[in-house]
Amino acid sequence: MQSKIEGGPAFAYINIDLDPGETVIGESDAMSSMAADLNLEAKFNGGFFAGLAKAFLGGESLFVNHFTNNTSSTRRVTLVQSTPGNTRAVELNGQQLCLQPGAYIASTPGVQLGVRWAGFKSWFAREGLFKLTVTGTGTVWYGAYGGLLEKEVHGEYIVDTSHLVAYEPQMKLNIQLAGGLFSSLFGGEGFVTRVEGTGKIVVQTRSMSGLADWINPRLW
């Protein structure tokens, strides 16, 4: 399998060239274009109950698509996330990665997706109750609205909740108000995430809620 992310960082899309017999798994509606003789099958996202959990709790789709090359030569499928922005590929070799709901795009069959409880405060912060975890061996592609920046945290750091995309599982997350009550309401910051520990986090430089907040005053 060969893959390349093009169009980034504004409109990143993934060109995946599957060798005969290979499969790649993509979230619902991620396909932009593909060779006509590739086999496309919708399957439950990890089995019925796991899929249900991931759909209602993790913000992912109930079904995922399995693209399999049953021909005798290489075939291409082009996958993309639903929003503009950048996409990243991560090689997993047993380690785990935590993703925000909706960040997952595609993965190779050796990668497992699970959900992790994120706490009630996370729900108040408009971010959902669960986080998605990916682990196993293989490649996972994820992305978000905006550009993606990696940050090394040593100690603690504050990230606006809608701007956090991915983090290493050893990091502890806590939700708190951005400032005092007045500031948090009128300052538009609301809830923020306090990240504690040592490890990497990935930040997105725009957010869907920020975009909506920007355009909503202009809507009649």
Partner: protein
């Protein structure tokens, strides 16, 4: 800079930053190896050090590789800062020295050090707020030490920095304001030209004073040096320098006003600079209509 690399308990080096970069590129050193810079107290992963290099080359994705298109100031500037993810999703990171304050557009903070304290102020006064035009500004102060803040506007697009030095004057579209130093005067009560933006709830800010000013564009940013005459659709005007004369009119006669979709334009004359954005919000607002949830009335 002299850097010692530690791997598997053994110390190697010291090496220069240049040598470390070469070793990372060739795979001799790993980004996860720990490095100690002479004079610093802490050991940091080499990826931390190599991130400060202007050209780091292809790095093996660990959680992912660094984004391109970063801008760090070379001209006059008051704060240390960088603008990343240009030109589509520009993101501003500013270093605020200990006990100093930075003014930032409300809801634009994306990341910050834990010793940053936020206070909210409302600019433009209550009447402006009630009139649907408001500019909320947060003040972030670095307490007990320097602090860092990452700023992300809500709309996608580019960002620029201007350093004002006393005599300079910049007119800025209100929703384009991102951040400024404390000595920059952001005047929102300036009446100047009412109706510049044909009722979109926008108004012109007049910025003077001393220090850094950052503003963003919705869409890509085009800087146009005006020397004579130039016409710009008003919804695409982001900022312009004080010396220019400007006149708002309709394009191509009355029929064009209603039919051509261009609406109002601003004719600039004289010498100066105009910053324009390649997209305008009302078109996006119109586009969102079918996706909006229906109200339950």
């Amino acid at each position: 800079m002299q850097i010692t690399i530690n791997r598997n308990g053994e110390n190697y080096g010291p090496y220069s930053l240049e040598q470390v970069r070469e070793m990372l590129d060739s795979g001799q050193a790993q980004p996860t190896d720990m490095g100690h810079v002479e004079g610093e107290s802490e050991w940091v992963p080499l990826s931390d050090l190599s991130n400060n290099l202007p050209e780091a080359g292809e790095k093996p994705p660990v959680i992912g590789s660094q984004d391109d298109d970063t801008y760090t100031p070379t001209g006059e500037h008051e704060h240390e800062f960088r603008i990343e993810c240009k030109p589509d999703f520009s993101y501003l990171t500013v270093q605020v020295p200990a006990n100093q304050t930075l003014k930032v557009e409300a809801s634009a903070m994306a990341t910050m050090s834990t010793n940053m304290v936020m206070k909210t102020k409302m600019k433009g006064g209550l009447s402006r707020f009630l009139g649907g035009e408001s500019l909320f500004i947060n003040e972030f102060s670095a307490q007990g030490g320097s602090a860092e803040i990452g700023i992300a506007p809500g709309s996608p697009g580019d960002m620029d920095h201007v350093h004002l030095s006393g005599a300079d004057e910049i007119f800025l579209q209100s929703s384009a304001y991102v951040a400024s130093g404390m000595q920059v005067n952001v005047d929102s009560k300036w009446q100047g030209f009412k109706g510049f933006f044909s009722g979109e709830g926008l108004f012109l800010l007049r910025c003077t004073g001393h220090g850094d000013l950052w503003f963003n564009t919705y869409g890509a940013m085009i800087e146009i040096p005006v020397d004579g005459n130039y016409v710009v659709d008003t919804s695409h005007v982001v900022a312009f320098t004080g010396g220019l004369q400007y006149n708002v009119e309709s394009v191509g006669g009355l029929k064009s006003l209603f039919l051509s979709g261009e609406g109002l334009v601003c004719r600039f004359a004289g010498q100066g600079k105009v910053w324009i954005q390649t997209r305008h919000p009302m078109a996006f607002a119109n586009w969102t209509y079918p996706f909006r949830p229906e109200s339950n009335n």
